[in-house]
Symmetry: C2
Subunit: 389 residues, 2 copies
């Protein structure tokens, strides 16, 4: 099997770099200078950074001035998840962080909150945040210690399940809290407007959109209430994030953001059709397959499934040998395949684990057919072994 026959079905881990993002990066890499320098070279790069800010703001209906660029979504999460806020120049303390139990580790770790100030919010067996439980937790929160902060993702990275953020926002408002929405997996897949979401902060990642790795953003609703800077120094990003800006990465991020906005509905319909075909094919071959969240609103690109008796680690290796790149949950800790905290939170036995197929704009029918052929071979081999035993 040659390299060319590989089939990449792990878009939720990282999307292939879009040609237009690559081109934008190459153009910026050809420009010498530091965007903070006042000479011509610096000013040209400053313009590029500010153009990128407008494009990323447009992706989520925000003001460009409310976009703080970071090195990625994990940094953005660590920046905003802190008890240490400023209202203008006045310090303001956040009393407690409430995070759903299916958040990405970048959020679930709680950033700069001490561990004892982080409370998990359970999810229902359907894989959505339990809004009743959130309401009860916020009702019991003592605001004397500071307002509460709630962090919930818009769509889950493992299951693709869309979270009830409108209901969450309504509850958070009622208790005078701050709402942080991790839009990393949703951006480019769902239409997003920060004001319609009624969120105070959004977290974005470039490389999940088809932009390069090494760029992300913390987008805010306003600019008065902001977290204390995580990375301090030269005062870039209006003091919110120091360090030389990365124009090439930001230009690529911006190109991906423009692509994401353009023709989203048509793209989603095409992706959903491929996904449906893939799921129907799986069920034909193995009707015991469980697809998590198949009865719930999901991203159109994600299929998180289990085959009874097939360990996710074994399954992932088997698919890899067949030339198919897919994932056992999220690809976050260095090479380790841990148990899915998402399945555990949903009340499933996580010891078997799930396999995640995630597709994207350049996924083809051939990719789906290759997956299904590999799936059929893996299932047949397992049946053969079961018959022999």
């Amino acid at each position: 099997m040659t390299r060319l026959e590989r089939t990449y079905l792990d878009w939720n881990a990282t999307a292939p770099l879009l040609p237009q993002a690559r081109e934008a990066m190459l153009a910026a890499l050809g420009m010498t200078g530091n965007p903070s320098s006042v000479h011509g070279e610096g000013r040209a790069l400053r313009m590029l950074v500010e153009a990128a800010r407008r494009d990323v703001a447009a992706l989520v209906g925000a003001e460009p001035a409310h976009v703080v660029f970071t090195s990625g979504a994990t940094e953005a999460a660590n920046m905003v998840l802190t008890p240490d806020f400023r209202m203008g120049r006045t310090p303001l303390s956040i009393g407690r962080l409430f995070v759903s139990e299916i958040e990405h580790p970048a959020v679930r770790e709680g950033g700069r909150f001490p561990r004892e100030s982080v409370t998990g919010v359970p999810v229902t067996p359907d894989g959505i945040v339990d809004t009743g439980a959130l309401d009860a937790l916020l009702a019991a929160h003592d605001t004397a210690a500071g307002m509460p902060m709630v962090a919930v993702m818009l769509a889950n990275n493992e299951t693709g399940i869309v979270q009830p953020v409108a209901a969450v926002a309504e509850i958070v408002r009622r208790y005078g809290g701050l709402l942080v929405i991790d839009a990393v997996q949703a951006a480019g897949r769902l239409p997003i407007a920060i004001s319609a979401l009624d969120a105070d902060f959004l977290i974005l990642s470039s490389h999940k959109l088809g932009g390069p790795k090494g760029a992300g953003a913390l987008v805010s609703r306003g600019e008065v209430l902001m977290p204390a800077a995580l990375v301090r120094g030269g005062g870039q990003e209006k003091g919110h994030r120091s360090g030389t800006e990365n124009p090439a990465a930001l230009a690529g991020f911006a190109a991906a953001a423009r692509f994401a906005l353009d023709g989203l509905a048509e793209r989603n319909a095409r992706i959903a059709a491929l996904r449906d075909r893939l799921e129907a094919g799986m069920r034909r071959v193995a009707n015991g397959a469980i697809v998590y969240g198949s009865g719930t609103e999901r991203l159109s690109n994600t299929v998180f499934f289990s085959l009874p008796g097939l360990k996710s680690e074994t399954g992932q290796i088997a698919f890899d040998l067949e030339g198919i790149a897919l994932s056992a949950g999220s690809a976050c800790s260095s090479g380790k395949v841990g148990q899915s905290h998402v399945l555990t939170a949903m009340g499933f036995d996580a010891s078997t684990g799930g396999l995640r197929v995630s597709i994207g704009p350049s996924t083809t029918e051939t990719d789906v057919e290759r997956f299904l052929a590999a799936f059929a071979r893996i299932v047949a081999r397992r049946r053969g072994r079961a018959d022999a035993a």
Copy 2:
């Protein structure tokens, strides 16, 4: 004047991307996948990240296992400058941070130390850290509050003056402190070995070496005593720095590190000859020019100078209009030309300010001649105005 005639003499702000770094990046950008994924695509990128780690380690004579990649030097500084350390798993508190008054803002801001736990260390009028003052400060430090940490740069970004790090290390050892060396401007310009420097931590930047922006490293002497992670989440970089690794940026960083090690002495000799020619030419035109640190050991690439009566901001704009990109001090806060804290610390009147010419491996004699021609025109215009007045 066409764009092609621009002369870039601002290498200390950022170096032009090396062709070999660009090539390494392009190769990596063509590879799809997340280095933390266990499938073939992920493993290929993991190999690339680990190869980069070996190259960056080699640049400073360190163990690859002791290199933590970050998004840049500012992040690395914020990571290591913290009272919150771990000795293995045991928390350990650093009592106070001592930073020289000529440190880059990324270090001078003190990272995660509260402002009241940061003490400035004065420099002599020669622009080098006052080791007598450091000794006295450490002698007066109460170790009951925790060991002291000292942060000193190997070479200053504005003047290029090489700091007495051997003497500093001897003092820090005597008082049982931790030594952090900001090697951002020195790397690729001076031979560096972390053990010869007797440093506990080194801070490195990719883009000052000719690598891309968006990569840096915190290099440690060992791996037992480490700062608490600044960016938490998925557990990448052995838990020291979470967030999806950026293989393209790291491959470019590695290419720049390899270039920096190769033929350093010859390159430095050539750069020093250009620098000497530039300084001699300046003195012929304006013998009142002050070159800071000309009597002290300096990087071979940096000329920080003042012309009596020429404000640095005015001078920078005049050179920019002549097609020459140079800097008024460091390019760190968004577009603002502040007073040089380095000149102030050296006891000069910083209101006039200095202009920094910084050159590099691809600087040519033509670049130097263009600078000198522009310099002569600017000086002549000033004389003309003075005569007319």
